[in-house]
């Protein structure tokens, strides 16, 4: 069948097309800008802590590529998850469920940016960092979004690795390899992810249940989730101090991270202890909010110390 014949089959009287309604802002929303900002920040800290030197222009290019790569992962995540995003109140206003961007448009956008960011990082900075970024996108889209998210309550535990890689990629952009220090930065975010997400899942449990996503509170119950939140928090508190113990952060960081870790642990204990009513809900919201502040502060302190040391 030729293209001309195919054209003739189209009913020209009803050619109203629902696509093409996405504004520039809708496409920016596909990149999950809030997640992207955390990725840029942690990658920047990884770059600043890395030994050696990178030209500032190449540093900006590396950060831009890591940010775009993370955004592309977000767009591909929204492409694949558009069916469950329609159900959950937290995600209903995303561009695809809101009918502003079609799934095909989001897919094309995500793939184009993925390839573009990886190739640009490889060509302009180094291919190890480029390959690492490609692996991170693969891990987030294929391993987490397409495989783990709908099949196991351990989804965000394993999938959390994708969100923990950016400081390692930032480090790799400077040094061309990875090291124990960058792995510790990875581990902090990796171990931080379960208590952070499960605190959210505890007060959004109904959403995940309705969408059929096997988050820990849905599958194992709230009691088991609270136990595991406390368990991961016990691991996280000393891990947060480990950059100082391993000698790549100063004593100010050591003291501050210990205090922050104790507060985290205290809030996780509250979530574990208070299990009924409005007080329980408030405890989970408090832990969720503080977990964002905690991670931001650890990396901000590492950054501040590296800047002060460099003066």
């Amino acid at each position: 069948m030729s293209l001309v014949e195919r054209q003739d089959l189209i009913d020209t009287e009803s050619l109203a097309w629902s696509g093409g309604m996405g504004s520039v802002g809708d496409y920016i929303a596909l990149l999950k800008p809030r997640v992207m900002s955390l990725v840029i920040f942690t990658a920047f800290v990884g770059m600043m802590l890395a030994p050696g030197h990178i030209h500032p222009v190449l540093g900006v290019v590396a950060l831009l590529c890591i940010a775009i790569g993370a955004g592309a992962s977000g767009a591909l995540n929204m492409w694949y998850d558009s069916d469950i995003d329609r159900i959950m109140s937290r995600t209903q206003k995303r561009p695809i469920p809101a009918g502003k961007v079609s799934r095909e448009e989001a897919f094309a956008f995500g793939i184009t940016l993925s390839i573009g960011s990886v190739v640009t990082l490889g060509l302009l900075v180094n291919w190890f960092a480029g390959a690492f970024l490609a692996f991170t996108i693969f891990f987030y889209v294929i391993v987490y979004t397409m495989w783990l998210k709908r099949s196991t309550p351990q989804n965000i535990v394993i999938g959390g690795a994708a969100g923990a890689f950016p400081p390692m990629i930032g480090w790799a952009a400077v040094t061309g390899n990875v090291s124990i220090e960058s792995f510790v930065l990875f581990l902090i975010i990796f171990i931080w992810t379960p208590p952070h997400f499960w605190a959210l899942a505890l007060f959004k449990c109904g959403d995940y249940k309705a969408a059929g996503v096997p988050m820990m509170p849905v599958v194992a119950g709230e009691t088991s989730t609270r136990n595991q939140i406390l368990g991961y928090s016990v691991l996280l508190a000393p891990l947060g101090v480990s950059p100082w113990m391993l000698g790549f952060a100063g004593s100010f960081y050591g003291v501050a991270s210990a205090v922050l870790g104790l507060v985290f642990l205290g809030l996780a204990f509250q979530v574990w202890r208070v299990r009924e009513g409005d007080a329980a809900r408030k405890a989970t919201i408090r832990l969720f909010s503080f977990s964002i502040f905690y991670l931001f502060m650890l990396f901000a302190l590492l950054l501040a110390e590296s800047l002060v040391m460099g003066l």
Binding site: Q7, I10, T12, L15, A16, W17, G20, M21, G22, S23, V24, Y27, H55, V57, L58, V61, T120, L124
Partner: protein, 53 residues
């Protein structure tokens, strides 16, 4: 056959949004060209002026 009679017809809003997206894509491509130019200069460094003819 004229273009106005056949094919997908965009509404006024769709055409407006497509124009905005096209401008954004053009600006992005322009920024990429500039980026590759600047990085080329950065990578060549001062040696760019002392190459044998």
């Amino acid at each position: 056959m004229t273009g106005e009679e056949k094919g997908i017809k965009l509404t006024e809003e769709q055409a407006k949004r497509r124009r905005a997206r096209s401008v954004a894509i053009a600006l992005t491509l322009g920024a990429l060209v500039l980026l590759f130019y600047v990085v080329t200069i950065v990578k060549m460094g001062p040696q760019i002026m002392s190459r044998p003819l």
